[in-house]
């Protein structure tokens, strides 16, 4: 079975900015939050949260620089 055929994932990949990195951020968002809920505040979860935000901001900036 192809990933795109999975019910929710398929819809996410079909919608949006048609960009796999941003799709990946959207799909990994619930996992990051679930991890924070389960593991609480520690160095690992803070690191994951920082990475998540940096990838989002950095990637949008990168796309912008590529277009200019």
């Amino acid at each position: 079975m192809n990933v795109q055929d999975a019910p929710l994932i398929g819809q996410v990949l079909e919608s949006g900015a048609d960009d796999r990195v941003l799709d990946g951020l959207l799909l990994s968002g619930p996992i990051v939050i679930a991890l924070i809920v389960l593991a609480g505040r520690n160095l690992l979860t803070e690191g994951i949260a920082v990475t998540y935000l940096l990838v989002f901001v950095g990637y949008v900036a990168y796309l912008g620089l590529q277009r200019t």
Binding site: A17, L22, G29, V60, R67
Partner: protein, 517 residues
Amino acid sequence: MNGTKATLGRDIGRMLEALAGLIVVTAVVALVWGEFYVVPALAVSAAIPFGVGYALTTLFADAEDPGKLHGMMVAASGWFAVALFGSLPFLLVAWTAELDPALLSVPSSARTTTLAAFTEPLNAFFESMSGFTGTGLTMTDNEEVLPRTLQWWRSFIEWIGGVGVIVLTTAILARPGSGSLTLYESEARSEKIHPSIVSTVRTIWWIFVLFTFVSITLLWLVGMPIWGAINHGMTGLATGGFSITDNSIATYDSVAIDFALLPIMTLGSIAFPVHFLILRGDLKNVYTDLQTRWVLGGFTLGSAFLWALVYFGGTYSSAFTALRYGLFQFVSAMSCTGFQTAVSSTNVALGNWTAAAQLTVAGGMVVGAAAGSTVGGIKLIRLATLIKGIQHRVSDVFYPTSAVRRLEIDGRRLDEREARREFEEAGIIAVLWVVFLTIAMFVLLLVLPMGEYTLENVIFEVASTQGNVGLSSGITGPSMPDLGKVMFLFNMWIGRLEIIPVLVLLRAIFKRGGIYQ
């Protein structure tokens, strides 16, 4: 008229079915938090709209696609119905706690006066309408003591309402064709991201969900507990403003949280099509799109002016404290979020601010931010149209009558006919906005105890209600007179739908009932 009824019935039925789904999702939250006593109330709350919705969609399955008139009536009546049925979780959970059936073992901590306020159907309806319209005014005294399930339900309905009930229904129950476009436009939206309306609404949700995860992560990272981050991330991005704490954001008293919420509220103030372009790397839209430019310019100028008022007016002795509160409160007001950081000892928003500062904030609430985003208010594009239209008309005098002139708005060059139509539309909305603000002010002045509130308090509260903002000068609450609550219900409803659809619905009802001929 039978065709109209069928179309209305079928589309409202779909919206109620979607609402039932939202309540089922909320039942999962109840199970996670171990609040099993609310589950029967939620089951009944979901079953009722589902039953009504299913009956309507089945009965009117063959109804025609909505035209422009139907679209407006569906939007107005659908939002009303969703807010009405969405009040059931508040009402039934409150009555569960009140009746305390032995079988459900309701914890004693759940039986609070705050929750008991929702045993009054008008209070429950008010809370639901405030949530779905993204207003954020509340009938609770202390949100902290509400069951987690109801805290979530308040945040969830604001989150859904921020994007729109019709947008949700279209995304879930995809129905390609002209009918979806008409409904979409009736919900105070016009811009399309893709040629297909179903793809457009799915992309809107894609953007909104991604930004929600980013917002929650950011708030948690700057120190907010995760349950607060989830709820405030959702209501902040939706520019709704419901909080799970008694003092709104002031509870945390954290500079980092205050400043982290600024970009979240700003994201909610920018139109989704612009977000879409920015996410594709088209960053120049931040300054080339007229509304986005005006949003950022409005936030900057308004905050600077407010900072000057509260700093030089002596409200705050430190320039940084004045900046922190002035900036936050202006962005919160103009983005129509309604989070509060500057509260007085009596928990009143801007309680110790001068009248000039309060009216500056009220000005931001009336204008609002970008059309096509999650905000309320008149919207910047209408303000731009009015300002440029007036300039155009005045400068007309200096040109010969034979001169061919075009009005340029947001990169579009409008001919005389188009310019007149857009100017008229913006003028009508602005006038109606002021008319209903004035009516609500009169009603409030009539029903409130004499001398308890100043005129600026009343103007502030009414502007906050109709602009779907939620900042409160202390007037709104369970003890507010019923007539005031009913007036505010109406203001929130018309504010969210930009007045016209509600007037169209009321005209149709009155005409049919023989009251208006």
